[in-house]
């Protein structure tokens, strides 16, 4: 993947040389051209095309935004209710993710989504303790969301 | 606005002075901090406020506020920060070493 990006940059640079012009627009053009060159020749590389990742990232992002909006609505509803009706608590949850970066990503996303905040993490054992605003109501949805995230993250990272 | 800010600065001066006259070391330092805030507000206020855009030529405004007080305040902020930091640590060391933050107990003459 790194090779592909570097190659792409090199193409952009060469493009600038050819144009004898040193500005960001020409560079951008060169990069775009390189992108398509690599896309068309992707089968020559041992690893998959790096543009794919961009799609995954975009997917993850949109997933997240939706979850964020949802979570927001939930919290606002809770807060604006005249009487609080919640059953908060901390529950244990497992994850299949391993690397630091993956776990961080997951934690970020989880914390930003409805009624859950990550508290303690043991990356070795793949265990997280999560505080939920309403354990009974959200246990299932959180676990579901977590699975979705894990899947998206794995797609991006591996 | 100028009058308003000057009066606020005045109130800060008053409170600052009151705290400085206290015998509690922390309150003295807090009073000094208030004093320097008040000084900066005063320095701004008495040289005219909102008399133009921020002194950045990129803003393309017709007039700019007086940049000199700003520059002076910047220098003054940094210096008072340096002094406050030093004073705080000095106060902390005194507190730890002498076991008091009461300036009355930090009198010299009696126990010499």
């Amino acid at each position: 993947m790194t090779t592909q990006i570097l190659l792409n940059l090199l193409i952009a640079f060469v493009w600038m040389l050819l144009n004898e012009s040193w500005n960001i627009v020409i560079f951008g053009m060169g990069y775009a051209i390189g992108f398509f060159i690599i896309l068309s020749m992707r089968r020559f590389f041992p690893e998959p095309f790096y543009g794919r990742k961009i799609i995954f990232i975009f997917k993850l992002f949109s997933l997240f935004i939706i979850e964020l909006l949802k979570s927001c609505v939930v919290v606002i509803r809770q807060v604006t209710r005249p009487k609080l009706n919640i059953q908060p608590g901390i529950f244990r949850s497992e994850t299949v993710l391993k690397s630091d970066f993956e776990i961080t990503l997951l934690s970020t996303l989880l914390t930003l989504t409805p009624g859950s905040v990550v508290m303690e993490i043991d990356p070795e054992a793949g265990v997280m303790f999560i505080h939920a605003m309403d354990v009974t109501e959200f246990r299932n949805s959180i676990t579901k969301t977590k699975r979705k995230f894990e899947k998206a993250i794995i797609e991006v990272m591996r | 606005m100028e009058t308003f800010i000057t009066i606020i600065a005045g109130i800060l001066f008053t409170v600052g002075t009151y705290l400085i006259l206290n015998k509690n070391l922390l309150r003295i330092i807090l009073g000094i901090t208030l004093f320097s805030h008040a000084t900066h507000l005063l320095l701004m206020a008495i040289n005219g406020l909102k008399k133009g855009a921020a002194p950045l030529l990129g803003e393309n405004a017709a007039s700019y506020t007086d940049p000199v007080p700003q520059a002076l305040i910047l220098t003054s902020i940094v210096i008072s920060f340096a002094l406050t930091a030093f004073l705080l640590v000095l106060g902390y060391r005194t507190y730890v070493e002498l076991g008091t933050d009461n300036m009355k107990q930090l009198r010299g003459n009696t126990h010499e």
Partner: protein, 797 residues
């Protein structure tokens, strides 16, 4: 010609060599080397004695600080010469005497002679300088050398006490005299005595003229141990005896006399001059002689006798000064007689007192005591000493055939002249003179009879007394023979020394070429003076006989009321009272000090704002203000007021940070982005430091401030706030000039920067910024050292 300068400076230049000689030529008594200097000087100046009678006074001048009119001008006339001869003559004898007196094995001779040379040079300088400030410089040096000499045996408490006392008193006088000299300068524009004399009446009308005189008097009277400043002299007797003989009787204490004589042409003729000198002189004469009787220490007795004798000379100079008074111009020559008497007695006194001191020194040396009560009958073991002491004492008592008789008679004449010429109620002058002379007679008798006559008491003495070695006796012998010679041949010096000296003191009296010649004769026929002398002898004898009863009267005077006691208590009180006063101001408490500062600002700055009508107020130019700005402002006020009342540290710290953050928001509103950024970060770090340094520490002390104090503080606080606000409100509408800021608005062309504030910081006023980071650096590393140095310190412990 410039040999004169060298002559004055030789003693000073010799000082560095004395310790060397002492250290490397220890075999030979250092005194022998030192002796060369006074001998040389004596011969050098004696040369002038023989030429002086005919030629004009000698003037030499070298600039020292010309822009202040300070020139090192030497003025050698007969008055100076008289003193120079005394200084070098007695100096020679004293150094010679000291060679035998000071043990070369036990004493720190290098210091002794160094001090002595310092003194000799200073004294020569004093009497030879025409410039008042140069004179003053040497004058103070004599005090300094006297200080050092009195404390020569500095391990003794009494020596230190005496040294300190003499220095403090004589230097007080000296300092005041300096002020007097400067006043004279302000009246006249010159420090030169000769020029001052020439200015004459022009300056006497000046309002500072008489004050100057009194300031100078303080110098004169302290130096010459006049009442009530005489108290230092008896304590100065802790000095080695040669020193007492030299400084504290023959020369230094006469510096005041010299100065009075020297300044008589300027001040003489003024009533204030006459009255002050005469009265002080008489009082001193009286008190001195009266007190001398009471002394049991021989040196103390001599000290008081010196005091009284100088009082005598002073009063004579006072009387003599009247010859310059226009009112008495007819009898000016009669008054001049008093001056003559003063000069003659001055010479006599130096001689016989020098002799007596040396004899006391010998007694002390040979018997180990100076206590009259332990001495007696020494005539048998020390006949030579007895003879010499007797000559000195009789001369002092004013008995023939000794020179003292002559000057004593002249003293009476002077006193009588005053009363005859100036009015009958001036009769008190001769009466005091006479009574004091009776006492003088008594103590002279004590000196001879209690020590040499009567039962011999060898038992209480520390060592077996015997006659002194010959070398030690040489100096007193010379002096004693002078006493006798001067009685029989007083005219040896009459025309060559006395007459020109009197003329130098009273130049105006002889200005119109009046003929006046000095001729001294021992026999005047049976006149009042002789009768007075006879009265003295008879009454003195009686008094001596009933001395014990007389003494009892003395003893009844409680010690508390003596001047000495007053001095001692005065010093203690001075230290105590000043201590109390200063500790009242310097209480040591920071809040108090800060309230001084703030009250000072309120009084001086606030006061001036109102008294000078500095307050101007005008709302018209104010910028508009929005609601949220009011809100922010009131939040600041609320937080600030909350800080006053809260006891919680945390809330105080939070409140101050809230204020800080709102201030940075205000900076945004005031169009100051750089400020806002900086303030934000700085506020955050400050808050962190506040918390780190104070919040998380355990609370150790709780204290309540009394309400009264709080109210006082509140008043001060409001005062400060008001003052600063009112000035602020005034200046905000008082922009009298265009700001320099206009210039910076071209910063893009001038400095290539669009951010004007940044351009000011890194270019226009980059120097400020450079130093600002130095401050920051210093604070940072300072904090580092504050914390680290302690750690290493602990490791050491």
């Amino acid at each position: 010609m410039y040999l004169l300068y060298i002559a004055i400076l030789i003693p000073f230049f010799s000082i560095p060599f004395i310790p060397l000689l002492y250290k490397y030529v220890h075999r030979i008594h250092t005194g022998w080397f030192v002796l060369v200097i006074p001998v040389l000087l004596l011969f050098f100046f004696a040369r002038y004695y023989f030429v002086q009678q005919t030629i004009e006074p000698l003037i030499l001048s070298v600039p020292w600080i010309p822009s202040l009119n300070i020139h090192f001008t030497i003025y050698l006339d007969s008055l100076s010469l008289l003193f120079v001869l005394l200084i070098t003559g007695v100096g020679t004898l004293v150094v010679f005497y000291s060679i035998f007196y000071m043990s070369k094995d036990r004493e720190k001779l290098h210091l002794f002679y160094a001090y002595l040379m310092l003194f000799m040079g200073a004294m020569l300088g004093s009497v030879l300088s025409d410039n008042l400030l140069v004179l003053y410089a040497f004058w103070e040096l004599t005090s300094v050398s006297s200080f050092l000499l009195i404390a020569f045996w500095y391990h003794r408490k009494r020596s230190r006490y005496g040294a300190q006392k003499s220095m403090f008193i004589t230097m007080s006088g000296g300092f005041s005299m300096l002020l007097g000299f400067i006043m004279l300068y302000v009246t006249s524009g010159t420090f030169s005595i000769r020029e001052l004399i020439l200015l004459g009446d022009q300056i006497s009308q000046h309002s500072l003229f008489i004050p100057a005189m009194y300031f100078i008097f303080l110098g004169v009277f302290t130096k010459s141990a006049q009442f009530p400043f005489h108290i230092w002299l008896p304590d100065a007797m802790e000095a080695p005896t040669p020193i007492s003989a030299y400084l504290h009787s023959a020369t230094m204490v006469k510096a005041g006399v010299y100065l009075v004589a020297r300044l008589t042409p300027i001040f003489g003729g003024h009533q204030e001059w006459f009255w002050t000198i005469t009265i002080i002189g008489l009082i001193t004469l009286f008190i001195g002689s009266l007190t001398a009787i009471r002394q049991s220490d021989l040196k103390a007795l001599l000290a008081f006798s010196t005091i009284s004798q100088i009082g005598l000379i002073m009063s004579l100079l006072g009387i003599g000064s009247m010859s310059l008074n226009n009112q008495y111009s007819d009898s000016s020559l009669l008054f001049a007689g008093a001056t003559l008497a003063a000069i003659f007695h001055l010479i006599n006194h130096s001689i016989f007192k020098g002799c007596l001191f040396m004899m006391i020194g010998i007694l002390d040396h040979e018997t180990g005591t100076r206590d009259i009560r332990r001495l007696g009958g020494l005539i048998h073991v020390m006949p030579v000493s007895f003879t010499l002491t007797m000559i000195g004492s009789f001369s002092m008592a004013g008995l023939p055939p000794f020179s003292g008789f002559l000057s004593k008679e002249m003293f009476f004449s002077g006193a009588l002249t005053a009363s005859r010429t100036m009015g009958s109620w001036f009769i008190f002058i001769p009466i005091i003179a006479w009574v004091a002379s009776i006492f003088t007679f008594v103590y002279c008798m004590i000196l001879i009879f209690k020590v040499f006559i009567g039962p011999y008491k060898p038992l209480p003495l520390d060592r077996k007394p015997h006659e002194a070695p010959f070398g030690m006796l040489v100096s007193p012998m010379i002096l004693a023979s002078l006493v006798v010679i001067l009685f029989f041949f007083p005219n040896l010096i009459a025309s060559s020394l006395l007459e020109p000296t009197v003329k130098a003191i009273l130049p105006q009296a002889f200005a119109n070429g009046r003929e006046w010649h000095v001729h001294i004769s021992a026999w005047h026929g049976f006149n009042t003076e002789l009768l007075m002398t006879m009265g003295i002898i008879i009454l003195g004898m009686l008094l001596y006989k009933y001395l014990t009863k007389f003494r009892n009267i003395y003893e009844s005077i409680p010690l508390k009321f003596t001047l000495n006691q007053a001095y001692d208590n005065g010093l203690v009180a001075m230290e105590r009272i000043s201590g109390k006063l200063i500790r009242f101001y310097m209480y040591g408490s920071t809040p108090l000090y800060l309230s001084y500062l703030f009250v000072f600002v309120i009084v001086i700055v606030g006061g001036s704002l109102f008294l000078l009508n500095g307050f101007i107020f005008d709302l018209s130019n104010n910028a508009p203000i929005e609601l949220y700005e009011y809100m922010l402002g009131f939040t600041i006020v609320a937080a600030a007021i909350y800080m006053v009342f809260t006891k919680s540290r945390l809330i105080s710290i939070i409140a101050v940070s809230v204020i800080g953050y709102i201030v940075s928001l205000f900076f945004v509103i005031f169009r100051a982005p750089d400020l806002a950024l900086t303030q934000l970060v700085v506020e955050t770090i400050s808050t962190a430091l506040f918390l780190l340094c104070f919040y998380f520490l355990p609370r150790v002390s709780k204290y309540v401030t009394p309400m009264k104090l709080n109210i006082r503080n509140a008043i001060i606080a409001i005062g400060v706030g008001m003052t600063l606000t009112l000035i602020g409100l005034s200046t905000q509408e008082h922009h009298l000039f265009d700001s320099i800021a206009e210039y910076y608005k071209d910063s893009y062309t001038l400095a290539g920067a669009k951010n004007i504030v940044n351009a000011i910081l890194v270019d226009f006023r980059a120097f400020d910024t450079m130093l600002e980071i130095v401050v920051l650096f210093a604070a940072g590393v300072g904090i580092y050292t504050l914390i680290k140095l302690r750690h290493t310190g602990r490791k050491d412990q």
